[in-house]
Amino acid sequence: MGGMGAIFWREARLAWAGGGGPAGPAAFFLAAITLAPLAIGPDPDLLASAGPGLMAFAALLSVLQSAERLYGDDFVDGTLDLYALLPIGLPLLSLAKTLGQGVATLWPLPVIALLGGLMYGVPLVSSLMLAASLAAAIPALVLLAGFAGALAAGVRRSGLLIALIATPLMVPVLIFAAGAGRAGFEGDERALANLGLTAAISLGTIALAPFGIAGAIRSRLG
């Protein structure tokens, strides 16, 4: 467990030191939700009903932003080769590594989503529901992006490839995270069910994805 903690903190510190920590994804998320009304028009009803879905979608895109760095850099400079020799094993290691980066860089997203929801005219309770469902979705999103990132590690311009691999995997969590916000907005009692399903998928991903990431890393190390 000590090893996992060390790797978690290493990733968190690296994210702050090399990539500006949460600034990158947060700025991207903010830009996306600022531009969306300019594209779909300022009609308040339309914005309020599209808001939760747009927010969840923009969050998914911002998670993809940092997926390239997570395993790409460590693959190129040989860190992954050393990691593969550690006694704690690749699954636990990749779990700590991925969540470390995810927590360090993505914690502002639910806060911005709450704010963005209010700006789109979504009622406070539904905005809170949306923020909660994004917070529940982030572990799954980060791990799936990490899985795609590990498969495509070291490929030149891997960002596009990662997006193509990760988006089909992210379909379920997007459906339920956005569904919680939408159902909340429509006064549907299924908001909590959607939130629960989002959390369930996140937990399932935490249980399964580390093995996928470990398999991906091993396949790439040859």
Binding site: L164, P168, V171, P172, I175, G179, L197, A216, S219, G222
Partner: protein
């Protein structure tokens, strides 16, 4: 049996005999199936002549899914037992499966226009087939992006296996997603239980599509081994030519 045919020579011998047989069977079955679909079966009492689209659409959708199952199965065999033939099979199945998926989407769209009044509906089943196409595309993109052949094979195998877990979850989640927002205008094709006059052409067409896919897979597998052999010969020629000129040979 798989390890027996992992010898390229033996596989080539098998493929050379299987390919023409599959070709003839496919053409005969397609001819019978198309005849049955167009002339040998009555128009549907509800859907009229458009029911005939079913005979090309349903088998395509079935092949899109069956080929993904085959892709994931081959990937599993390669991942666990490292059989190069299984990996080669996975590599050649992917584009064929993607084409059947596109075919299913296109014929479905052509069928949807007269039946539902729309080319495209964000219906659960259609959306999950579209996601299946993305999974195929991601698989092929990953394979072509990794230059080292062995790394590409292993990484692609991991992705194909993750894809099948995901497809199941996508199926359920999309069902729930769509059921929350099912537009009332969509007429569900629950129709009458299929009559035997329609079941026959459908069955023959499904069989024809299956042998067609098998034919294409064997054909592409054989061309793949031939291309590899041709490359080997080319490399050897190049090396011999260099050695004849007194240069040090290329490292194999």
């Amino acid at each position: 049996m798989l390890s027996y045919f992992s010898n390229p020579q033996r596989f080539d011998g098998l493929a050379r005999r299987v390919i023409p047989v599959l070709g003839v069977v496919t053409i005969v079955l397609l001819a019978i199936g198309v005849w049955l679909a167009f002339f040998g079966s009555p128009p549907d009492y509800q859907q009229g002549e458009t029911i005939r689209i079913m005979y090309v659409h349903v088998p395509a959708a079935y092949m899109a899914m069956a080929l993904y199952a085959a892709l994931a199965g081959a990937s599993f065999v390669y991942f666990v037992w490292r059989h190069s033939l299984a990996d080669a099979a996975a590599e050649v199945i992917a584009p064929i499966g993607a084409v059947f998926t596109v075919l299913a989407l296109m014929t479905g769209s052509l069928w949807g226009k007269p039946m539902w009044g729309t080319w495209w509906e964000w219906d659960a089943r259609m959306t999950s087939v579209l996601v299946l196409l993305l999974v195929y595309l991601g698989y092929m993109a990953l394979r072509s992006a990794l230059e080292d052949a062995q790394q590409a094979a292993r990484a692609a195998a991991v992705l194909a296996m993750a894809g099948i877990v995901n497809l199941v979850i996508v199926k359920f989640s999309v069902d729930w997603w769509s059921s929350l927002h099912q537009p009332a205008s969509v007429i569900r094709f629950d129709g009458p239980t299929i009559h035997s006059s329609q079941l026959w052409p459908l069955g023959v067409m499904a069989l024809a599509y299956t042998t067609l896919a098998a034919w294409l897979v064997f054909y592409r597998l054989r061309s793949r081994t031939l291309i590899q052999k041709a490359r080997q010969i080319e490399r050897r020629k190049l090396r011999d030519a260099r050695q004849a000129q007194g240069e040090p040979g290329e490292l194999a």
